[in-house]
């Protein structure tokens, strides 16, 4: 019951808030003090994307007990897919005015488009790729990892290694994704100029909607019988096996879905910030995203959204006000939250029992590991 109320609250906050901001930006004249300047819209849009990423992470961490340290990889891959479409949209308006080749390719002296760029001139295709590519990667990776019963910190370390490797890969020019400069100078999406505030606002609203939809999807999943099995796996994996469930396949499904959600977030992120480059793969990003969830309170979904918003608000403010402090702050946040706020901020207000996930899951893992060690 309380859960439902919380959910409705979340949705109305996200959608309502976005709508209000949009209105105050578009309808109120710039002179009025009530007018919301464009950069606020841009920032809001960015945060909403982060919220989607956080949501994805909470889905696997909060409910399947999989602590991922590489989810930014899927986020970035989605972003790159979208970036490729936006690059093709530029067409001949690039510096080198090459109708087919993006500038950076001309710059490194490529003469024709590599095969894996075909089709990205169509929005629908790019959109498909936004989900297919990260989804496939997640599936293959998960299939390996879960089938071999890799879990706990080992899984975390591997996910980090994954995003790390991808970062290195995308830094290479010959990958054909713009090397360390990545892709930028986008002109427009589906014909709407990106620099017009109506477009910005539109994107922000779309993001808000997508966030709400993914939220509902995630919620539907965890409230289905599937979700219950997932929680069961988190709490006592060996037991679920003796009930005849195959935990690996459940993890695999939720892991892939989560990766796709994250990727969509990334795809929405790129047109709003106007650039995508390999630094998005940096392991640090993934872990920072995890702390958003931890701060908000894992295993609640709305906590993830709240956390992403708050932490990033703090980041924006601190990095501008006293940049020195930022890393201290975020670092301290990790420590304080894990030591004193295991259930995050939302945990302070709900009477729910703490999600025993990590502790028991890890205990269970230990047990099974010991068995394996026999």
């Amino acid at each position: 019951m309380r859960l439902d109320r919380a959910n409705i609250a979340t949705l109305s906050c996200v959608l309502g808030g976005a709508a209000v901001l949009a209105a105050m930006n578009l309808l109120i004249p710039a002179v009025s003090p009530l007018h919301v300047p464009d950069f606020v819209i841009a920032i809001a849009g960015k945060y909403l994307c982060y919220a989607i990423l956080a949501l994805a992470i909470d889905l696997v961490w909060g409910y399947a007990g999989i602590l991922t340290l590489g989810h930014a990889a899927f986020f970035a891959l989605g972003g790159y897919a979208m970036g490729m479409y936006l690059m093709r949209e530029i067409g001949a308006r690039g510096v080198y005015a090459n109708p087919t080749l993006p500038d950076f390719m001309v710059f490194i002296g490529w003469t024709h488009l590599p095969w894996y760029w075909y089709g990205f001139s169509h929005f629908w295709f790019a959109l498909a790729m936004v989900m297919v590519v990260p989804g496939t990667l997640a599936f293959v990776f998960g299939w390996f990892a879960f089938r071999s019963r890799v879990s706990g910190v080992y899984l975390s370390i591997i996910t980090q290694a994954l995003t790390y490797a991808l970062m290195l890969a995308f830094f290479r020019n010959d990958m054909g994704f713009g090397g360390n400069n990545g892709m930028t100078d986008f002109k427009d999406v589906l014909g709407f100029p990106l620099n017009r505030e109506s477009t910005e606002t539109g994107l922000m609203l779309v993001t808000a909607t997508v966030l709400s939809l993914s939220f509902l999807l995630a919620r539907a999943m965890i409230h289905s019988r599937f979700g219950k099995v997932l929680i069961a796996v988190r709490d006592a994996e060996p037991r679920t096996r003796f009930l005849g469930y195959r935990p690996e396949s459940y993890k695999l499904v939720v892991w892939t879905v989560s990766a796709i959600i994250a990727a969509i977030g990334g795809a929405l992120y790129v047109p709003q910030v106007g650039i995508i480059n390999p630094s998005e793969f940096a392991p640090g990003n993934s872990i920072e995203a995890v702390i958003w969830v931890a701060v908000g309170g894992r295993g609640t979904l709305y906590g993830a959204i709240l956390g992403a918003m708050l932490v990033n608000l703090g980041k924006t403010w601190l990095t501008s006000a006293l940049p020195e402090i930022w890393l201290f702050a975020i670092g301290g946040l990790f420590i304080v939250v894990t030591l004193f706020l295991p259930r995050g901020i939302t945990g302070l207000f709900t009477t729910r029992q703490p999600p025993k996930g990590s502790k028991q899951a890890s205990a269970a893992t230990e047990a099974s590991m010991r068995e394996a060690a026999r």
Binding site: R225, F226, K228, D235, L243, G244, Y245, R246, S249
Partner: protein, 247 residues
């Protein structure tokens, strides 16, 4: 042997770096039978459960279930789906789920994500759950989180989950451990009730409890069967007395 058997352990050996936890253990369980397994510490009782449920692979020997299924070839989920349920020494239920959901997950049926993602609770399932809750005396607690149950209640919930699986064979490890006398008696009653419809193997130290079950007893020692028979036969068996009183 001519008559149909439910479970047949044939010369099963398990050794952990040198030490033989099970040593050529052979045992036969008839359909519908309830069997109590006792024995001093380290006799291999829990290991026996592990090999039957696929948690541990035996070094030698076969474990035949029903007509001709060799369990040593299968893993836990597969064996569980064949209809062998197991209850652990420490009650392990899904703490953060409600009592009812714990049972719901245990209910026999399709275990694949494809199914559970879209599964809706059927009227039949609803009825089954109510029946189960009644059987394990947890109707009041149906919507409480399992974590909030007492030790005895958790034990029952776990047994309830076993029943929900609708298994042909139940393996139960020390159900009476740490229970009050009242709870112990009720547990024995519950097991007899269960045994009307399915075969059961119970491990326990508590002789009062085993006596209350009043079934055939197998005494394990050092990984193999030391004696088998009725409680009285066992009590007079010199080997058993040897094992329990003196070495």
């Amino acid at each position: 042997m001519s008559e149909p058997t439910l479970l047949y352990l044939d010369g099963v050996t398990v050794s952990f770096d040198g030490f033989k936890a099970l040593n050529e253990l052979s045992m036969v369980l008839e359909p519908g039978e309830m069997r109590a397994v006792i024995g001093p510490n380290g006799a291999g009782k829990t290991t026996m459960m592990d090999v039957i449920t696929g948690k541990t692979r035996p070094d030698q020997g076969r474990i035949v279930f029903g007509a001709d299924i060799d369990l040593t070839k299968l893993d836990e989920p597969a064996i569980a789906r064949l209809g062998i349920g197991r209850k652990f020494q420490q009650p392990t239920v899904f703490e953060t789920l409600t009592v009812r959901d714990n049972l719901l997950l245990a209910l026999a049926g399709d275990r694949s994500p494809r199914f559970t993602l879209w599964a809706r609770e059927s009227a039949d399932e609803h009825a089954q759950l109510d029946r189960l809750l009644a059987t394990i005396r947890l109707v009041q607690e149906r919507d409480r989180r399992a974590a909030e149950l007492s030790h005895g209640q958790k034990q029952w919930l776990e047994i309830g989950m076993l029943l929900a699986q609708d298994p042909k064979l139940l393996l139960i490890d020390e159900p009476a451990a740490g229970m009050t006398d009242a709870e112990t008696a009720e547990t024995a009653e519950l097991l007899r009730e269960i045994n009307r419809t399915r075969s059961v193997v119970v491990i326990d130290h508590d002789m009062a409890f085993v006596r209350a079950l009043g079934v055939k007893i197998t005494v394990l020692d050092e990984g193999c069967v030391l004696a088998e028979g009725s409680i009285d036969a066992i009590q007079d068996n010199p080997h058993v007395i040897e094992v329990y009183l003196g070495r």
